[in-house]
């Protein structure tokens, strides 16, 4: 009674099929574009998508196994980025077959790269409060507005754009989800520098940007429902490390990878595996935060300090529990169940881990924790004194630690979701769900 039945023996069959297909198709001398064409049209780029959307309808965990197996085989993996993660699943779920054939095909074959144009300076936690405005113009729309926190904005061919199409409707009822061509005048992408000194994200200014009539995914003014589908795919990705095994090679026309030789970008081949292996490839383990700081503590001669030991074990404990929580979700999903709220729990726990890691890491660094290189020259100057390659990782993570409690729904929003959706606690009064958006208070 203690062993769960394996779900329909499919993983092994699937991986056998994949390996046979790779034996047949993988050729390092193909261009990246040629290889992704083969991979995507065979259903191996986004196998979790339905079969009418270039997928194979497999479970999320099987999809992870597939991408890991491609990497283990030594072949170039599926095109990465937000197309495969968010746009593809959204269009597969909410788009017409024509839209799927136009857009998902280009996603799974890596022809187009995508970015996300959701958040605005005035609409962060309250995404539905967005004010970017799309006005009908002939058989299309003219869009004006400003977006923010757009990653890869300058490498994207297309954007997932949320714009307000009816300001007189209540705020959730006047939004449309558009496919927006990023390669047109009126789009300006500006890097947004973070407190770490890096610019992982962009601001995107939209000035009289044109969007075609058939670019709306789902119905006009029903974009909030579509956006929620996108956000659900995003949360699933954030919580479960769903990108593991996916190649970092950027797809699309701008990054310039399509004409490179596929073999040059493929990972070095793992140890050959017995072809009869009945076990799926084990995920490669990144060194945990706790492991990194344990080594750091030893190096700084602090690992015998009882205060340090307690906090290292707290960090280790949270890491272990994160892993175990994920395992429990996996076991539940394997039998078609779920553990509600576990995604939000994972996100809140990540915030806690990052804070603990930040405070402990810099305390272990001691005086050296005051040092940080914001550019290569500075980094070299720090290393010249400290000669410890772990220190920049510690200081960088400590600065970055402020981001996870904010992005993808702040800690406060996660707690609202758990409270209201999982525990069934009542919402706050004064809902604006019936008020025309144009009459609501907004940021200046």
């Amino acid at each position: 009674m203690t062993v769960a039945e394996a779900p329909a023996a499919s993983p092994t069959d699937l991986l056998d099929e994949l390996r046979a297909w790779l034996d047949e198709n993988w050729d390092p001398d193909l261009t990246v574009a040629q290889w992704w064409e083969r991979l995507g049209l065979a259903g191996w780029s986004a196998p979790a998508l339905p079969s009418n959307a270039y997928g194979r309808d497999v479970s999320r965990s099987d999809a992870v196994r597939i991408s890991q197996e491609i990497a283990a085989y030594g072949a170039l993996g599926a095109p990465g980025g937000l197309g495969l993660l968010l746009a593809g699943p959204t269009i597969a779920t909410c788009g017409t077959q024509e839209q799927i054939d136009r857009h998902v095909r280009d996603i799974v074959t890596g022809q187009k790269a995508w970015c996300q144009l959701f958040s605005e300076p005035g609409a962060g936690s309250d995404l539905a409060g967005l004010t970017s405005r799309a006005v009908e113009d002939g058989d299309g729309w003219i869009v004006n507005g400003q977006k923010v926190w757009t990653s890869m904005g300058h490498e994207a061919d297309l954007g997932m754009l949320l714009a307000r199409t009816n300001p007189e409707a209540p705020k959730h009822a006047g939004i449309t989800w558009f496919v927006c061509n990023m390669l047109q005048p009126g789009i300006e992408v500006r890097p947004l520098r973070e407190m770490t000194g890096n610019a992982m994200f962009n601001e995107v200014f939209l000035s009289d940007v044109r969007v075609d009539a058939d670019a709306a995914i789902g119905e006009v003014n029903d974009g909030w429902r579509v956006a929620n589908a996108t956000l659900a795919f995003e949360r699933a990705g954030l919580g479960t490390g769903g990108t593991s095994g996916i190649t970092p090679v950027v797809p699309g026309t701008i990054a310039g990878n399509l004409e490179k030789r596929a073999g040059d970008l493929a990972p070095s081949k793992s140890k050959p595996k017995a072809t009869t292996s009945s076990q799926p490839a084990a995920p490669r383990k990144a060194p945990s935060a706790a492991a990194m700081l344990i080594g750091f503590a030893k190096k700084h001669g602090r690992s015998e300090d009882p205060l340090v030991r307690q906090r290292l074990v707290e960090l280790h404990t949270l890491g272990e529990i994160g892993r175990l929580n994920a395992e429990r979700v996996k076991a539940a999903k394997a039998v078609g169940k779920d553990i509600p709220g576990m995604g939000n729990i994972g996100k809140l726990s990540m915030s806690t881990v990052m804070r603990l890691q930040r405070d402990l890491g810099l305390e272990l660094a001691g005086a050296q924790g005051m040092l940080h290189g914001y550019d290569e020259e500075q980094a070299a100057a720090v290393q010249a004194v400290v000669q410890d390659p772990v220190l920049p990782a510690v200081t960088t993570m400590s600065l970055y630690a402020q981001a996870p409690p904010i992005y993808g729904g702040t800690d406060q929003i996660q707690r609202n979701i758990i409270g209201e959706r999982i525990l069934g606690l009542p919402k706050e009064p004064g809902s604006n769900s019936k008020v025309p958006f144009s009459e609501l208070p907004k940021n200046a």
Partner: protein
């Protein structure tokens, strides 16, 4: 690799136990029993054995049990913790039966475990002394060979259900080192004094032995090893119990937050309260993962059991305590009253933190195990 798959049989076990406890261990019974000296209802103990087979659930079939694993036992402890069951279950099954099973003493197992499985015998493990050292490293109780057997002299303290247990397993210093001994309920020279506990739902006693006849369990000198494994299994049981307790505290808080009106709104609509409840869910589900993992390691006889059990014990009892304290705060004044059940969970939680070693000591143990 850990497998968290939940079988239909486990779910059915959980439903049965929950139904049984809803019937036999409502708040009124908890309050009645916590005010008695014995602290439990022998009739209910018999029913737990006869109707549900709980004491023998993880005892091998050939020793009168059902042969299930610690994973199933964890389900039982979780439900018992949720109901604050007043019962010798933890002492008998979580400690004593585990000590016997860890002893490799076939004769002793054959004699005692069938009685335990049948609900005919309650038992406990007496190992800590007045110092409160849970490792028993400072054991002063001595065991002296006497004819075929042994005699014990000394004392034990903080003995769970020590005043009522039919069988007392005692850690004592024999010439070969720490060893495990069995002492009968009515053995000569035993005195049992109740120790009034903050958590009145689980009784403790101080026992003294003066030339008390005892039977060696396992081999002489094997006591430290038996105790280490038993402590881990006891910690895994406490962790599961704490998870159930934490879940119940959260349920109480959420229910109250939905019903209680202040300022014209249910208090659960205020973020201050809503977010407290949300944080409870984070802890409850995380505790459950930790507790199930420890149970799974126990079921697998994993060499990592000790680490997993310490991790679960530290995390789950902390989570239980935090949840229990926050439950009082969510309830406000009524949660501070004796008549409300919130304090019973609070006290059980605090006692669970301190029993078998406090969270900091378990974290230090983990540090040693993972090479810090």
């Amino acid at each position: 690799m850990v497998d968290f798959a939940v079988s239909d049989e486990q779910e059915e076990l959980r439903r049965s136990v929950r139904r049984f406890l809803a019937d036999k261990s409502p708040s009124s019974e908890v309050r009645r029993l916590m005010a008695t000296d014995e602290g439990y209802d022998p009739a209910v103990w018999t029913q737990m054995a006869e109707q549900l087979g709980l004491p023998g659930l993880a005892i091998p079939e050939e020793l009168g049990g059902s042969g299930y694993t610690y994973v199933e036992l964890a389900v039982v402890f979780e439900e018992a913790g949720a109901a604050l069951l007043c019962s010798p279950l933890f002492a008998t099954v979580g400690l004593a039966a585990n000590a016997l099973l860890s002893s490799d003493d076939d004769a002793a197992m054959k004699e005692y475990l069938p009685q335990i499985a049948a609900g005919e015998l309650t038992a406990t493990l007496a190992f800590t002394e007045d110092s409160g050292d849970w490792s028993a490293a400072d054991t002063s109780t001595t065991a002296t060979p006497a004819g075929d057997g042994w005699t014990l002299d000394g004392h034990k303290s903080f003995v769970v259900d020590g005043a009522t247990a039919g069988l007392i397993l005692v850690i004592a210093n024999a010439p070969d080192g720490l060893s495990l001994f069995a002492v009968d309920r009515d053995a000569a020279g035993v005195e049992r004094a109740a120790l009034p506990t903050m958590d009145q739902t689980r009784k403790q006693a101080r026992l003294t032995f003066a030339g008390t006849p005892a039977r060696l369990i396992g081999t002489a000198g094997a006591g430290a090893g038996i105790l280490a494994r038993t402590s881990s299994l006891g910690c895994a049981a406490l962790a599961a119990e704490a998870t159930g307790g934490a879940q119940r505290c959260m349920d109480m808080a959420v229910d109250y937050a939905k019903a209680r009106i202040q300022f014209g709104r249910p208090i659960g609509s205020f973020q201050a309260i809503k977010h407290k409840c949300s944080d409870m869910l984070v802890e409850v589900e995380s505790a459950r993962s930790a507790a199930y993992f420890a149970a799974s390691e126990a079921a697998d006889n994993s060499p990592d059991l000790a680490t997993a059990a310490s991790l679960a014990k530290a995390y789950c009892t902390d989570a239980f305590f935090h949840t229990a304290a926050e439950n009082i705060q969510v309830h406000g004044g009524i949660g501070f009253t004796w008549e409300h059940d919130a304090h019973l969970y609070f006290k059980r939680a605090k006692s669970s933190q301190l029993m078998l070693g406090d969270p900091a000591s378990h974290r230090e143990f983990i540090a040693q195990q993972i090479g810090i």
